[in-house]
């Protein structure tokens, strides 16, 4: 398979690009932010995503979805990133759909996701930095389990219909085994959810589970063997977040390059200064390298390759590095105007920071690669 988008994927990209730029450009985020919107995104837009078929992009055709791959999900996510569109697409249509794949929960939740009614959240972080340890416990109780502990950085939790929770059913915090994934239905169970506004004006929650009782059938996959499902969820989430980062970095770069062609100082456009040309060209190189890493990871995931895990780590780390550079250079090369709230580049900087942190930052993934390579 060649490492570029084929004709169908390109068509999908063009469709997503036009649709998202028209309906959810950066001004859409700004309007939600200015209104201090308590949802964090537009329900109407999410419905339109469903009408376009986007919410079912990863749902199998047999279950009425589009049955497409990580590459196609990434194509949509890149446009979401480029436009800073607030949307539960990554958590719901990508990560949760992946976690539920092939389980009884799929039949229950996929229709709502397809229709644009159901929102899913991922309760997997327990500390300020993403780590592999899981200490939130799920103890057997009655015909089910009792969850106790805390999670944080849970995007969309305050409006979610479904919260996927990674819990410990046996063993110690750092063990790989003994982990179980639960589907918490917010209609039947109510953990304590405290939404916090983040720097990028999205909302993420701290959640406390105080002996929350769940039925046995809320287990996704197998008890104690949840690591496999969790890893699938994370691989999808990470490759998706990488694609969204690519969009954020690319969008910031486009803004910056356009500004270099327009702003005049010393009687010439600043883009004619070699010091800035070289930095812009270097940035372009970093973004292109990151783009290749993302597509490689997505293709390997879609092919079910054993090499996919490492490629996903590379993609998440590389997009973190490249996009961070892009937003930093973006603000700097805009000069004073780059520091103003009125101008969009600052929004790119904030979204990049959130996505870079999500599912493990560049350091986390570089460390994981090193461990796998035996050093």
């Amino acid at each position: 398979m060649p490492l570029y988008l084929d004709d169908q994927q390109t068509m999908l990209r063009d469709t997503a690009r036009d649709f998202i730029a028209e309906h959810a450009p950066p001004s859409h985020l700004r309007a939600l932010r200015d209104a201090n919107d308590p949802t964090g995104f537009s329900r109407d837009l999410w419905k339109q995503f469903a009408e376009m078929g986007f919410t079912g992009i990863r749902i199998p055709e047999a279950q009425s979805g589009m049955g497409l791959g990580h590459v196609e999900a990434g194509v949509v996510l890149e446009e979401i990133g480029r436009n800073l569109s607030p949307s539960p697409f990554l958590t719901t249509a990508v990560a949760a759909v992946e976690a539920l794949r092939g389980t009884a929960h799929a039949d229950r939740y996929y229709p709502g996701i397809l229709a644009g009614d159901t929102i899913a959240a991922l309760a997997i972080d327990e500390r300020a930095k993403f780590g592999d340890g899981i200490s939130l416990t799920a103890q057997r109780s009655g015909n089910g389990f009792r969850l106790s502990g805390t999670k944080q950085f849970v995007a969309h939790a305050h409006v979610a219909d479904l919260i996927l929770v990674a819990a410990r059913t046996s063993g110690a915090e750092s063990d790989q085994d003994g982990v179980t994934l639960f589907a918490v239905d917010s209609k039947t169970a109510a953990p304590d959810i405290r939404p916090e506004r983040l720097a990028d004006s999205s909302l993420a929650s701290r959640i406390t589970f105080a002996d929350l009782q769940l039925d046995a059938d809320s287990v996704v996959g197998e008890v104690d063997n949840g690591r496999e499902v969790l890893n699938r969820l994370l691989a999808a989430g990470r490759s998706g977040a990488s694609a969204e980062l690519l969009g954020v970095g690319g969008g910031a770069m486009d803004l910056t390059v356009a500004y270099l062609k327009e702003r005049k100082q010393f009687g010439q456009t600043i883009g004619s200064f070699q010091a800035l040309q070289h930095r812009a060209a270097h940035l372009y190189a970093e973004m292109e390298v990151a783009r290749a890493a993302v597509l490689k990871a997505q293709q390997l995931l879609d092919a079910g390759s054993a090499l996919a895990g490492q490629a996903v780590a590379v993609a998440k780390a590389m997009t973190g590095l490249a996009t961070t550079l892009s937003v930093q250079e973006g603000v700097q090369m805009h000069g004073g105007i780059g520091m103003t709230d009125e101008y969009d580049i600052g929004f790119y900087m904030k979204r990049a920071r959130v996505l870079a942190e999500m599912f493990g930052d560049a350091n986390y993934h570089a460390d994981a690669l090193a461990r796998e390579s035996g050093y």
């Binding site: 060649p2 490492l3 570029y4 390059v257 270099l260 062609k261 010439q268 456009t269 883009g271 004619s272 070699q274 040309q277 070289h278 812009a280 060209a281 270097h282 372009y284 190189a285 292109e288 390298v289 990151a290 290749a292 890493a293 597509l295 490689k296 490492q310 490629a311 590379v314 993609a315 780390a317 590389m318 590095l321 560049a362 350091n363 993934h365 570089a366 460390d367 690669l369 090193a370 461990r371 390579s373 035996g374 050093y375």
Partner: protein, 393 residues
Amino acid sequence: MTDLATFRSETRAWLEANCPPEMRAPVRSDKDICWGGRNPDFQPGQREWLEAMASRGWTVPDWPTEYGGGGLSPAEAKALREEMAALHCRNPLNSFGISMLGPALLKYGTEEQKLDHLPKIARGEIRWCQGYSEPNAGSDLASLAASAEDAGDHYIVNGQKVWTSYADKADWIFCLVRTSKESKQGGISFVLFDMASEGVSTKPILLISGYSPFCETFMDNVRVPKANRIYDENKGWDVAKYLLGHEREMISGMGLASAGGGNPLIEGAIAAVGLDANGRLADPLLRASIAMFEVRARAFGAMSERFIDELKAGRAHPAQPSMMKYYGTELNKARHELQMAAGGSDALEWESGASNGGAAARAWLRTKANSIEGGTSEIQLNIVAKRILDLPA
């Protein structure tokens, strides 16, 4: 099985049977690289490997068979590259003929010129060097002065070239000469001549690596038949630029290293500082630097794959080789800096047997040229800024 799957499995079996074990070991020093030519200096296994690959046209897998190539489709050529990488097969032949002159001949040469030169390049029989740079024409290459005077059916060439890599070992040269002074770029012609021609002499230049792989080349009334001119008179700049694109493509690939398998950087670091009780490199800052470097190196590996795929499909931006050259060479320099840092004082030994004749230090110093040769990093960034980002002059 699909045709491609059949091709892949047959290729793997053939490589297994024909690639000598010595040719599957990591490249440790310059001597491990096979250049061919009239006076080849083969190490064990090199000749067999070169001949086996050349017999199938696989030194140049995607060239047409009538010119000594393998006639493979892009997908087959990719499968061959992947299978060679999987078995850690070394490149059978390093050659400026393959990576630079060949593509230019395929595009600009006459049928006669192609039939004359390409099969010899494919078989590694003629070693080529590149006569572009002059003492006063480096980055500003088009200001070159070496002159070719019209003398009927031939030119009389006079002048001096510099930084001519391997001019003292090469059999033939591809050379830029001035055939008109009226226009800077429009007065250059592209010619080929035998280094054994009367009036050609070379003088090696010692490098910081202690080696002298490149030379000053002097041309004193050298007769060059006009039949050896590629493309039209005064239009050599088109050929030169096209060839430079391929040169950049070749140099960018060097950042990937590890033909022959293994990861010398990681292996070297483990050998030098050891692992701690948790199986981590005992120097945490070195470990972090290497891990971050590996992220970029692997991402660039994907970029190289994408670049080749796009190139073969005719979808790459024509200035993309500049980006690849810039990124790949800066990465390769970073790799060798880390390798030296990991090796510590062991890596500094210059002549000892333990250091394989100072291989690490010499290789480290050699990589510093990567961002100079074939156009400096600054020039590549200029090209990306203007031709891809469309920034104003």
